[in-house]
Symmetry: C2
Amino acid sequence: MSELLSEAALDQLFRTARTFNAWLPKEVSDAQLHQLYELAKFGPTSANSSPTRLVFVKSKEAKDKLAPFLSEGNRAKTLAAPVTAIVATDYAFYEKLPQLFPHADARSWFVGNQPLIDTTAFRNGTLQGAYVIMAARALGLDCGPMSGFDNAGVDATFFAGSTVKSNFLVNIGYGDASRDLFPRSPRLAFDEACRIA
Amino acid sequence: MSELLSEAALDQLFRTARTFNAWLPKEVSDAQLHQLYELAKFGPTSANSSPTRLVFVKSKEAKDKLAPFLSEGNRAKTLAAPVTAIVATDYAFYEKLPQLFPHADARSWFVGNQPLIDTTAFRNGTLQGAYVIMAARALGLDCGPMSGFDNAGVDATFFAGSTVKSNFLVNIGYGDASRDLFPRSPRLAFDEACRIA
């Protein structure tokens, strides 16, 4: 049976973790990006559909391609981040179900049912995006997620001719708490957001 | 600066965590559900919009109300789980932005823009659902998330007359690994799901 994680781990994952807007000049290695995926991939998805696709934008060339599609307020911090993950979703995820869910014909649950495809793709692609954020924090990295950008432009540039569409962006690196870190915004109290029935 | 969590913590959160279908006869206390929310609430959302609403279905009466809307394959395990969280989304989340994002008039970004409201609600409501799963695991609890149920029926029963709609369900308790635990399904390899650009 599992135990409560340490207070330090709970802080790192949730309580003191913050959305960073400035980054220390410290590289995130390709090996760390592999480690990140090798954790995040295990988070649960519906029928193990695993629709998220990730582009880790790291080179100057790729950052320059991304730049025109960032909103004004997100551009400088994103270009300065060691890595920007494009969290995207493959809307033809069901074509991989024979591989990912081999014990049933799960592909047939989706083919021809576009509303179910769209909902499953968006919901599970987003769940996996959250697992990416949590995995980065578990590895000691900081995140800055954003949804303010030109999705169609990013899709045409990074996913042309495919069934993959961008969902949101996550800057990844080592946050610089001395710059552009806003005070923590308030959260809803338990009774405002939850009830026990 | 944060450090890599311990191998045991990475296992508990990701690598050995599983979707459980059977539960040990061990209660989840109301205090644990409060602890869970007090962690999950800190996960990042767009403009701190925090649209997720949670109903922790725990009593026999509330389980009986939920039962008719569960798919056949999900019913018995859900009725047996110590708690079933209805992860729901408030589509009028923007009405709380003056409280949640006090430093700008974020409410005005949404009012009258229904596509932006719908996308923001679904994306961020789902992100917070993933934070609930990760927070439960961090507390030593196990999860069994599901999207196979009658959303409209659940909404009419638990959220009538409100702007809240169900997203997915998460059974929460202490998993019984000796019963109904399927072999781990394969995940996509790094190169199938990711690229470094």
